[in-house]
């Protein structure tokens, strides 16, 4: 039986004994969290599975586990280790007995709690943060009337006007473009929208387009566009009506 390969299944660690030792020595596992009694139990169980006593394994295990115990004791009671070593054996035994008795009392208490938990297992109640109303506000300290007036005066004045000058977006009126397009149509019977608004800002172009839609709605103009995004051609409405007539005539003649 190889002690170092002893398989352990503890709360703090699961794996071979060898790995546990390595981790403890590298200080990657806190020995204080390790239940050494459980290691001893695991070893005893393995030992019991065999018919004959493996003295060599027992010796090795004793050495390893006692060093582990010593390490753990030092970890748990760093400042008391020296103090206890100086005690007379009788006093040390008394101290140990006191502590064991204390631990035993707590184990009894734990057993009582476990029993109580089972007895009270059918206890259901509402849980949650208590929705208590906030405590009444503390009264303010007395104030000087002049000081209060001064503060309220400060609050009563109008705040300074915020300047919007930095905002560049300005919308020209639609009517401006209505007039402009009507004037153009008086001079020429048709024009190209894109050419007409070239050089204007994006916002102005948008307003110009609105004016165009307005004119179309009131039937003053007709619009034409060969394809999406192609130039928009604008004609005066009477002119387009004439042309439609001509087309119809031409069609009739050619048929």
């Amino acid at each position: 039986m190889i002690v170092r390969e002893l398989a352990l299944d503890l709360d703090a660690f699961e794996g071979p004994f060898d790995l546990l030792l390595t981790l403890v020595l590298k200080e990657e596992l806190d020995l204080r969290e390790v239940d050494i009694a459980a290691i001893v139990l695991a070893f005893l169980e393995r030992l019991a599975e065999r018919d004959e006593l493996d003295l060599e394994a027992c010796g090795e295990f004793l050495v390893l586990v006692s060093s582990l115990l010593e390490l753990k004791a030092r970890g748990l009671f760093p400042e008391e280790a020296a103090e206890l070593a100086e005690l007379e054996p009788e006093v040390a035994a008394e101290e140990l007995a006191r502590r064991l008795a204390e631990y035993r009392r707590m184990k009894e208490a734990a057993a009582w709690l476990r029993g109580r938990l089972e007895e009270e297992g059918d206890r259901f109640f509402r849980l949650g943060p208590a929705p208590f109303a906030p405590k009444p506000e503390v009264q303010l300290a007395p104030q000087q009337p002049e000081k209060l007036a001064q503060v309220i005066r400060l609050l009563a004045t109008d705040p300074p006007q915020v300047s919007l000058a930095h905002m560049a977006l300005r919308f020209p009126p639609v009517s401006q473009f209505l007039d402009r397009f009507r004037a153009v149509l008086r001079r020429r019977s048709r024009f190209d929208f894109d050419t007409e608004v070239r050089g204007l800002s994006r916002v102005e172009q948008a307003v110009a387009f609105l004016a165009l839609l307005d004119l179309r709605r009131s039937g003053e103009i007709a619009l034409e566009q060969a394809a999406p995004f192609a130039p928009i051609r604008v004609r005066a409405a009477e002119e387009s009506a004439n042309r439609d007539e001509r087309t119809v005539t031409w069609n009739a003649r050619s048929a």
Binding site: D11, D30, R32, E33, V34, D35, G75, L76, F77, E88, P89, E90, A92, A93, E94, L96, A97, R99, L100, A101, E102, Y103, R104, R105, M106, K107, E108, A109, A110, W112, L113, R114, R116, L117, E119, E120, G121, D122, R123, F124, F125, R126, L127, G128, P129, A130, P131
Partner: protein, 200 residues
């Protein structure tokens, strides 16, 4: 009174009792008599008397809701006969799967608290970090100041939830553990024998 000639006289505490019922049904933690008296704007003595009235109305076998004195206050809980139905619908994470380590740690805090993790480690012989963190997470213990010495370790005490789960009116209901029986004496004797051998 406004109707001196009423033939069936109601209990003069009835109205107060109704107010207490209302306060208790809204509360999610036990309410003390002082809190109830404050909220109801009435005498603590009258509140005590009215609570008896309410407790009689809400008792096992009479109602699905039971009024009980727990964790230093008064609170409603489900009747025990409804526990199976409650268990089908509700979970109780605070008390589920409490390990032996957790229970021992809980006992130490309940009996000796407020106490620190080093105190617990000294008694149990293993570090208390994970057990304490587990109990804090479950809401069974909570921080309660620090040790006075240089280290200033955080101290812990049990919460009202602990008393509620274990059905305790207060920590003083925990049984006395002064007498732990002959086991302790046997241990003492054995240790003394070992000590004598070593000093010899």
């Amino acid at each position: 009174m406004e109707r001196p000639l009423r033939l069936i006289s109601a209990n003069p505490l009835d109205q107060l009792a109704r107010t207490l019922e209302a306060l208790l049904v809204v509360a999610s933690a036990p309410l003390s008599v002082a809190e109830l008296a404050d909220a109801a704007d009435d005498d603590p003595e009258r509140v005590d008397a009215a609570l008896e009235l309410v407790a009689e109305r809400y008792s096992e076998g009479r109602s699905g809701i039971v009024l009980e004195h727990v964790a230093g206050g008064w609170a409603y809980r489900a009747s025990r006969e409804a526990a199976t139905a409650c268990a089908r619908l509700f979970e109780r994470p605070a008390q589920r799967n409490l390990s032996q380590a957790a229970l021992e740690t809980l006992s130490i805090v309940a009996y000796l608290g407020p106490c620190s993790r080093p105190d617990i480690a000294r008694i149990r012989g293993v570090a208390a970090e994970s057990a304490v963190a587990n109990l804090v997470e479950r809401g069974l213990i909570t921080e309660s100041g620090r040790d006075d010495d240089a280290g200033g370790a955080i101290r812990y005490r049990t919460t009202p939830l602990f008393e509620r789960i274990f059905g305790l009116e207060s920590l003083s209901q925990l049984p006395r553990l002064d007498d732990v029986g002959p086991d302790a004496d046997a241990i003492r004797d054995r240790l003394h024998t070992v000590a004598e051998k070593r000093s010899a």
